[in-house]
Symmetry: C2
Subunit: 103 residues, 2 copies
Amino acid sequence: MADSGGHPESEELTLGPILMAIADPLRRHVVAELAREPDGAERNCSSFALPVSKATRTHHFRVLREAGLIRQIDYGNCRKSQLRRAEIETKFPGLLALILANA
Amino acid sequence: MADSGGHPESEELTLGPILMAIADPLRRHVVAELAREPDGAERNCSSFALPVSKATRTHHFRVLREAGLIRQIDYGNCRKSQLRRAEIETKFPGLLALILANA
DNA sequence: CGGCAGGTTTGATATACATCATACCTAACC
DNA sequence: GGTTAGGTATGATGTATATCAAACCTGCCG
């Protein structure tokens, strides 16, 4: 089961939703940006300058979260995103490198 | 440009269409099956026992072909599919292993 | 020749997806 | 308190995608 924030557990990460998520160029861009940051880095949604409305942005970050690619931490009026790097690397070794190399 | 059969050149392989293609479970299954075969193996579409109609099958194989994942060879009344293994492995190292490990 | 099996094409349909505008929530700041 | 900034929720819309049925093509086989 996913936690209350809609984050799947590490053991629940499956390739299908992950591929669905990163098939979208905007979402792939977000993952690539986060992968370039040092591990554990947090960024808020608006820092990615996506060329879409706020609502659409929320939608994309939700897909990334539900696929298990990012963890979102609620700070009240601000929500920061963190790449679930180690878990992804364990379950899907090479995936992040692939995205980075083709970003 | 793609050749007359709709196959992109090796240099034209891009991650976007590839991910779009393997995001679908049926298509991912086909790629995994082909990846399990010895290199260069050819299989006709109907040998995958996909639970869809012939027309839908044609559609899925077309997506795989246009993404550059498979090469389709026309034998007149039969069309065989071949994984473009070396080209994929060169451009996107680890991708096939990832699919195989999660099939 | 006539049928059959493997595939494609076309046209239709239904569902999923990306997108936006609007309204709303929460904390910070003046 | 009012405003502003970051984000979410809802509802609507347009487009893409998956799906199928029906008609067709190609080679093979009886």
